[in-house]
């Protein structure tokens, strides 16, 4: 299956580990993610202003790029990109008058009808590949690795675009079980990571992430799995700050679900780009015999 893929800015910089591991792992399952030849910013944060059409132009242009590839679907990896692209399309579909205005404004583009469906890789794994096939592709099961999934908000909210039950999602749990890992439930898995407060209110993020990680650890987790680069930055990099704020805090590695897929599929370790992690996962993975 070939599907146009929208990376977004972070996947080309800080979240290269997400991109490389995702593309390699998806390939094992027969999903060829083909990067759009041209793409621009997703809009980063979905605009909630009612009369703010200009903010919808960026994401809509990306959907037009997918259309130009002859596809009516576009796959994303970053939760933020998924959210803004999907919601922009929803906004665009909901109001004919606004749709018309946006189309007329972008007179250099082909007219867009709102017919590109934005999907997240997790949805493809669940709904099209199926967890049984994922399980069949596992060469090195993550046996004994205690993983706590963390969803954050962007994959689940608002409910109209969420990929799963926003209060009690299970898609990552099902995936991790298929990979052979021991899933640890963390009631904080849908709580806020602090998001962009990380820029000027680090203390807020430190408080949020401290609750998330200590709860996961309290339930026995050794590693957290997630899908969002911003969550990853907060959960992984901010652990240094948590250590300063909370004496006795123990750090723990944080991985993208795609990195765990790559390990379980026994792909070359280089696709996981472990060097980009702030909390090095390699000692733990080595101790479990999952990497050399």
């Amino acid at each position: 299956m070939k599907i146009p893929y929208y990376p977004g800015c972070t996947l080309k910089t800080k979240a290269k580990d997400l991109e490389d591991s995702a593309i390699a792992a998806a390939k094992v399952l027969g999903v060829e993610m083909e990067e759009l030849p041209q793409w621009n910013c997703c809009g980063t944060v979905y605009s909630l202003s009612t009369d703010d059409l200009i903010h919808q132009i960026g994401p809509i242009r990306n959907l037009i790029r997918a259309k130009e590839q002859g596809s009516d679907r576009l796959v994303t990896l970053c939760s933020m990109c998924y959210n803004t692209l999907k919601r922009a399309n929803e906004f665009f579909l909901a109001d004919e008058e606004k749709r018309d205005r946006i189309n007329r404004y972008m007179d250099e583009e082909m007219d867009y009808a709102g017919d590109v469906t934005v999907v997240h890789l997790l949805e493809i794994l669940r709904d099209e590949i199926g967890m049984d096939k994922v399980k069949a592709a596992v060469k090195k099961p993550l046996t004994g690795l205690k993983v706590s999934p963390y969803y954050g908000c962007m994959l689940l909210r608002p409910a109209s675009i969420g990929i799963d039950d926003m209060e009690r999602p299970t898609v990552m749990e099902d995936l991790l079980r298929a990979l052979g890992a021991e899933v640890i439930d963390d009631p904080y898995k849908t709580e806020c990571c602090g998001a962009y407060q990380t820029v000027n209110r680090k203390d807020v993020v430190v408080t949020c992430v401290h609750s998330i990680l200590t709860s996961a650890q309290g339930n026995g987790a050794e590693v957290v799995a997630l899908s969002c680069p911003l969550c990853d930055f907060n959960l992984d990099n901010r652990q240094k700050d948590i250590q300063q704020a909370y004496a006795g805090f123990h750090t723990m590695p944080v991985l993208y679900f795609t990195q765990l897929m790559a390990i379980a599929f026994d792909l070359d370790e280089s696709v996981c780009r472990f060097e980009l992690s702030s909390q090095d996962p390699r000692p733990l993975l080595k101790s479990k015999g999952l990497i050399a």
């Binding site: 409910a159 039950d165 209060e167 009690r168 009631p187 709580e191 709860s215 309290g218």
Partner: protein, 447 residues
């Protein structure tokens, strides 16, 4: 319209609405057939601990009415029965009633209960809301004051019926009433009018996925059983997981109600009052405990209700927090409740021992079949639509079929009893109108 008119009423559902309507019609001199799905009449009311705003116990105020029903010469209680089909029209309904196999000959059963004492098999008790502390036996009567006072065998759990072993109940029964080979049987009756009083159930806790499935997160009816002095814990307040006395109890109002986005948009109308009542009863049983109630707003719209609420706040020191609860989960020994106090604008976290969810009232799913058989119009949620919201509150769209109680909409006990009386009086005026004025009068009434 045919020549005869059966001046006999069928009431479907033996809760407080059905009981009241049956008594009113029977006292008016007409025959009543009261069909109840479970082994005893009494409904949800008899499960309650004490009722607002007077704090009298349903065992004291409802069981006398149940006994009157049982002894009334004009009332024929058909318990453990279900309506199979209805044909005909006002004055001439033909109703087929399924008598579910009880495996006990009720003519011979004296209700002595020796079988129940000796029965070796335990099963979750529906009457105790399947709580861990209150199992029943495989041969049972749902509660001590059951009317009729007869036993039934639960075919899913009975060793004789599932594995052809045991047979103890047949050995100990002094009147040889046990019939392992009994089958369902159908009875056909003729009635002139029908009252549908199929009642309510609670919206399932599992629908609220933000609240953990945990033995210590219970619904209102489960806590009623724990609070009930004659309940499975004999009125000692224990939490289901470990039997410990809970010292911090959180009540969550509007759990599923008033939530048009995700759940049910309507107000269930009794939760404000029963949460206050349960918190009060809890405080009376555990004076050093603390009760917290999360609410959207407190609706005390009945006689003496506001005074009752004030008493809860002032005398029993219930902590009222205005805000919704976003998440409930277990952390070790505690149940953590994330909420909001919108009056101070602050987030609230309570580490509770027990959480009680005031789940929304929904129409009893067991009543669906009757509504279909009778072709009754319902609203989106399944509540029976009355003929006119203001001027025909107990009539349905079908002549001779009336509605009473929570089958029509969420309501409390006083309103249910009043509506049941209203439905009964409609039946009585129909019957006596025919008796006094003949068919002509009926035609006039029917318009």
């Amino acid at each position: 319209m045919s020549e005869t008119f059966d001046k006999k009423a069928l009431i479907v559902g033996g809760g407080v609405a059905g009981i009241q309507a049956a008594l009113d019609i029977a006292d008016g001199g007409y025959q009543v057939i009261l069909v109840e799905r479970t082994p005893s009449i009494g409904g949800h009311m008899v499960q309650l601990s004490e009722v607002f705003p007077t704090l009298d116990c349903p065992q004291c105020i409802l069981t006398p009415k149940m006994v009157m029903c049982g002894q009334h010469p004009n009332i024929d209680i058909k318990a453990y029965c279900e309506v199979e089909s209805v044909t005909g029209e006002v004055g001439n309904f033909t109703v087929r009633i399924r008598h579910k196999a009880t495996y006990v000959d009720w003519d011979a059963c004296t209700g002595c209960g020796q079988c129940e004492q000796k029965c070796p098999t335990k099963a979750p008790s529906e009457f105790n809301r399947e709580l861990a502390f209150g199992p029943r036996k495989a041969i049972y009567s749902p509660f001590a004051q059951a009317v009729p006072n007869k036993r039934v065998i639960d075919a899913d759990h009975c060793l004789k019926l599932t594995k052809d072993k045991c047979g103890i109940c047949a050995k100990v029964c002094p009147t040889q009433a046990i019939r392992y080979d009994q089958k369902d049987w159908i009875e056909e009756i003729k009635v002139g009018a029908i009252i549908v009083a199929t009642g309510y159930e609670l919206y399932k806790k599992e629908n609220l996925t933000e609240y953990a499935s945990d033995p210590d997160v219970i619904d209102g009816l489960e806590f009623e059983r724990i609070l009930c002095p004659s309940g499975p814990t004999a009125g000692v307040i224990k939490r289901p997981s470990d039997g410990k006395e809970p010292l911090d109890v959180v009540f969550v109002q509007c759990a599923g109600s008033r939530d048009p986005d995700k759940h049910l948009p309507y107000c269930s109308r009794v939760c404000c009052m029963y949460c206050c009542k349960m918190a009060m009863l809890y405080k009376h049983a555990v004076p050093d405990g603390q009760a917290y109630i999360f609410y959207i707003d407190v609706r005390t719209d009945g006689k003496m209700y506001e005074e009752f609420y004030q008493r809860g706040v002032e005398e029993d020191r219930i902590v009222y927090l205005r805000g919704k609860v976003s998440k409930i989960f277990r952390e070790g020994d505690k149940i953590i409740v994330f909420g909001m106090d919108t009056l101070t604008g602050k987030r609230v976290e309570v580490a509770a021992d027990l959480v009680v969810l005031a789940m929304a009232m929904i129409p009893n799913p067991a009543g669906e079949k009757v509504k279909k058989i009778l072709n009754l119009e319902t609203d989106t949620f399944g509540f029976i639509t009355e003929a006119h919201a203001k001027l025909h509150p107990v009539e349905t769209g079908i002549d001779g079929v009336f509605v009473a109680g929570t089958a029509q909409a969420p309501k409390d006990i006083p309103e249910t009893v009043a509506q049941a009386g209203g439905a009964a009086s409609k039946v009585l005026s129909l019957f006596s109108g025919v008796e006094k004025g003949g068919k002509a009068a009926l035609k006039e009434m029917a318009g």
